[in-house]
């Protein structure tokens, strides 16, 4: 019942000085809002990252050309050949999907439209590795690849850029670098995934591209899709072994290719985001502490103002503890109310920002609970001294206080 009395008296004290209470908690409100918004921003960024990774379906390793060094002499980039990809393909040890590609910009014409667009030569499996689905028609198959057939699959945005519709362009011919290619399929919209824009590209079979469009057998890189729970270290060792044999690299010599684990990057990025978030949240947290000093200041004023009330309460039998708890509860309540307003404010700002910018919105519940708990602790810490001051007042003198 005493605790309830503390709450009631704290609320009525806050309410009777509503403007002052608001100004006092302003720093707490802003501090909590900043902490919440920053933490939310961090987890929204991670959510975006997760969605990107999910787009890749299974985990993807990327083999790209590297430099061959013999002693101090650098011989420039050693290309990866289509044959390298087939050597990997032939390996039966692992359940992986080998997807090499070559991509260049070429002129694309359809009726009157004439655009310069990214053309990608790849194997049919590329669509599976990337998780791209067709919306109209079909993707090309291995026979069309080996036959160097002039067929093309369009990214979802391409028909519009050629000033036509998917229905009108399907099964028609487009001119790529002056040669006709039959449009056999159009992909679903994928959206941009970081540095790639799959909707903007045109896809031809790898061998068709190599021979007819690009005139090279060197691939840009080889994507290797592995299962999510695959042993990546072992797979990387197999890739290394196969490619070293392909390239005739003797023992002790360096690799002339690079193998990257994309998910390592995302882990790094996630870590960096985490550190950054913690840093900014920490800085914002300092303003909470500064707010606590403001609360302490106003509580000291409140104790002085209410000296007679404190004297009366003591005359009626309030113990040291009862007076302490009354003022500490008031300080905590002040901070917690500020914290709640701050959480609401920070969440709203982030939500608005996210919906304008089309980001995913994520607000961890633990951040909300955590920041309100933290503001309660600020109230407790900075409420102790004023409360002690109140509890130590001499009742006889306090009652005389004017």
């Amino acid at each position: 019942m005493l605790f309830k009395e503390s709450i009631i008296s704290a609320l009525s004290s806050i309410r009777s000085n509503i403007v002052r209470s608001f100004l006092t908690t302003l720093a707490i409100i802003i501090g909590t809002a900043a902490v919440i918004a920053v933490i939310g921003l961090g987890s929204s960024a991670n959510k975006a990252l997760d969605e990107q990774i999910d787009d890749f379906g299974p985990r993807t390793l990327v083999v790209s050309p590297g430099q061959n060094r013999r002693g101090a002499v650098t011989k420039g980039f050693i290309p990866l050949d289509i044959k390298d990809a087939y050597a990997l393909e032939k390996n039966e040890e692992h359940n992986w999907m080998i997807s090499p590609y070559i991509s260049r910009n070429r002129q694309v014409k359809f009726n009157n439209a004439n655009i310069n667009q990214r053309i990608r030569g790849n194997l049919p499996i590329h669509f599976k590795v990337r998780g791209y689905d067709v919306e109209y028609g079909r993707i090309f198959n291995d026979d069309e690849n080996f036959g160097r057939k002039r067929v093309v699959v369009l990214g979802a945005a391409v028909p519009k850029e050629l000033k036509t519709s998917p229905q009108n362009i399907l099964d028609k011919e487009v001119l790529i670098a002056g040669t006709g290619y039959k449009v056999i399929g159009i992909l679903e919209e994928e959206g941009n995934t970081g540095w790639q824009s799959p909707d903007e590209e045109l896809y031809v079979p790898l061998l068709t591209g190599a021979q007819r469009l690009f005139g090279t057998k060197n691939v840009d890189s080889i994507n290797i899709g592995v299962e999510k729970d695959a042993n990546v270290d072992e797979i990387m060792m197999s890739i290394e072994r196969i490619l070293r044999a392909q390239h005739d690299i003797g023992p002790g010599a360096d690799n002339d290719f690079n193998i990257n684990d994309y998910s390592q990057f995302s882990d790094l990025r996630r870590q960096a985001t985490g550190i950054f978030t913690a840093l900014i949240a920490g800085i914002a947290g300092i303003s909470l502490v500064v707010g606590g000093i403001g609360v302490m200041n106003i509580m000291l004023v409140s104790v002085t103002e209410r000296t007679r009330e404190i004297g009366l309460r003591k005359a009626l039998g309030a113990t040291h503890k009862a007076i302490m708890s009354q003022f500490i509860v008031e300080a905590i309540l002040l901070c917690v109310i500020g914290g709640c307003i701050g959480v609401f404010l920070g969440t709203s700002v982030l939500y608005l920002l996210a919906s304008f910018q089309d980001w995913p919105f994520a607000m961890p519940f633990s951040a909300i609970v955590g920041s309100i708990t933290f503001s309660a602790m600020v109230g407790l810490f900075f409420g102790i001294w004023p409360a002690r001051k109140a509890a130590k007042l001499d009742p006889a003198i306090s009652l005389r206080y004017e």
Partner: protein
Amino acid sequence: MIISTQNLKRSFQVGSEKVEALKGINLSVEKSEFLSIMGPSGSGKTTLMNIIGCLDTPTEGTYHLNNNLVNDLSDDELARIRNKEIGFVFQSFHLLAKNSALNNVMLPLKYAGVREDNAITMAKNVLDKVGLTNRINHSPSELSGGQQQRVAIARALVNKPSIIFADEPTGNLDSQTGDDVMNLFKELNEQGQTIILITHEEDIARQSKRIINIKDGLIESDYKI
């Protein structure tokens, strides 16, 4: 004997000067007495009340309340005695402005740890007793001075204290409402309540049963009416 003091002294340090407010008070009060303490301003009446009301401690002398020595008790023990044994009524009422009459009266019960439903019943009973049955939800600003002082008296009564101290209870009231308050005190005294009243006014003091005159921190006269 409820109150018994021997050679009670109280001095205050004001800057470099020492003010002797009480210079040796010997006072005994029996149960159910109705006693007035009179004296000019600054004579030490409030100081004496604070000590025998356990709000303050003497610098010298001994004080027994209900045959227990009070001198050496801790702050929290004194708080408990004030809560259970003593009821205060002040000149300026000292009600909590934002609380209803009922809440004001319940305050000592809250500090005594009484359960809320019991506390409400007890507070309503004493408010009945002082004639404020229909005013329990009014806040002090919605009550007249006389009614506010009745709330204060109800608050002093609610824990069934051994003694009620009233420091100038009629000082802020007109003579009519002052008389009403005095009649309430007389009624309570007839029911056995011990009351110690502090006043400047002769005709208020005359309504009690014993008058003590204090001057310069000493008892000048002590007589029954």
